[in-house]
Amino acid sequence: MTLSDRLDELRHEVHGCTLVSFGDISTGLALRTSASRHYKQDYLEEILRQASQNFALSDLMTEGNDLVVVATPDEVRIFVRSTAGNSDVVCCVCESASEIPRVAQSAQKLLNEMSRAA
């Protein structure tokens, strides 16, 4: 299964998920994306920057944090960072926050597989 297939699969298994993106948090680049509608590249890069700022804050407070959630009135952005020591990140944009645990688990599984395959 390709990375694009895995992102599609994750998007379909999470209720109300409109975007799943795989990116590099150190460069802020969204490398592969599965989306139910068009998202501009600018938007993807801005939300990755937002994730990076929040992970940086969390890193100052504690170690080993792999999850950041950012909610706006329109959507909930869930960011899961690889625990394998690289800068891979998966970002899911959902309609609600109720899917946070499921997204965290599935995205971390995907990141582990990516890291093993590399």
Binding site: H15, G16, Y43, E46, I47, R49, Q50, N54, F55, L57, S58, L60, M61, T62, G64, N65, L67, V68, V69, V70, A71, T72, P73, D74, V76, S96, A97, S98, E99, I100, P101
Partner: protein
């Protein structure tokens, strides 16, 4: 799944209902419409409902007046189904186009001014005055639909405080800064509050440097969550004026974020 499809159907039905209401209104007799125009708005809710309807039916630029027993209490400029300007007692209500750029915040400001006027002036009557010069609908305008949401007293409730009320029982501590300068804290666990204070210091440069934040960060209310320690999650929420930094057990984070999303999502509908 059923909830989702019902919600979808309701969303699809809304334009149909609006069209039906518009058609029914077109068929009203001119006498009924005249009577309606002459009706006094007894309170803020009636006033905002009445105004919203008038704004929604006004396309070309017009000046409207609100009359009290003593004369003209307010003048409104309306165009393209939007409230463009509001002047109360000959003083224009000023909207900060940089800070309050979203239609919801603009509507809230106009509605708050109308609420104060209604409380002070008593019953008000709406009257069309004349055509207004052509005015562009800028970022300090709001649609009739946005304004109509503020017809009830509960719509003025501070959403940040409503969120705090909801999540306080599961919180392990919080610090709240109100836009009017109040600073409150709930500190049942001294160590947790100490960590939140450290986080507060880290956030200070960001709070003082709003201008350099990305477009997404400045676009309105926002709430972030991340690990504060192995067992605790930090939540940072702001509506642009008030700010809350709180700690919650890791297991509660989905519920807390759901609470925030519900409070602020409902405010937009």
């Amino acid at each position: 799944m059923r909830h989702s499809s019902n919600a979808h159907m309701i969303a699809q039905d809304e334009p149909v209902h609006r069209l039906r209401d518009a058609l029914l209104r077109v068929t009203e007799s001119s006498e009924t419409l005249r009577e309606e125009k002459a009706t006094l708005s007894k309170d803020c809710a009636e006033l905002i409902d009445r105004l919203s309807q008038e704004i929604d039916e006004t396309v070309l630029p017009r000046k409207l007046a609100l009359l009290s027993d003593t004369g003209v209490a307010a003048v409104l400029v309306v165009s393209n189904r939007r409230l463009i300007e509001l002047e109360i007692d000959a003083r224009k209500i000023v909207i900060d186009a940089e800070k309050d750029s979203d239609a919801d915040t603009v509507a809230r400001s106009y509605a708050a001014a109308l609420k104060t006027l209604s409380a002070r002036s008593g019953p008000l009557r709406l009257r069309s005055v004349c055509r207004a010069p052509q005015i562009a609908t800028g970022s300090t305008a709001c649609t009739a639909r946005h304004l109509a949401k503020y017809s009830t007293a509960s719509s003025f409730e501070n959403r940040m405080k409503a969120f705090l009320k909801l999540c306080h029982p599961s919180s392990m501590g919080w610090i709240y800064w109100s836009g009017d300068g109040q600073n409150l804290a709930h500190d049942p666990h001294k160590d947790t509050i100490k960590r939140l204070r450290v986080l507060e210091q880290q956030l200070e440069p960001q709070a003082n440097n709003q201008g350099s934040l990305s477009r997404l960060d400045r676009s309105g209310p926002i709430c972030s969550a991340f690990a504060l320690s192995e067992d605790l999650q930090a939540v940072i929420a702001t509506d642009g004026k008030d700010r809350l930094i709180a700690a919650f057990p890791r297991s509660k984070i989905a519920a807390v974020m759901t609470n925030w999303h519900q409070v602020f999502k409902h405010a937009r509908q």
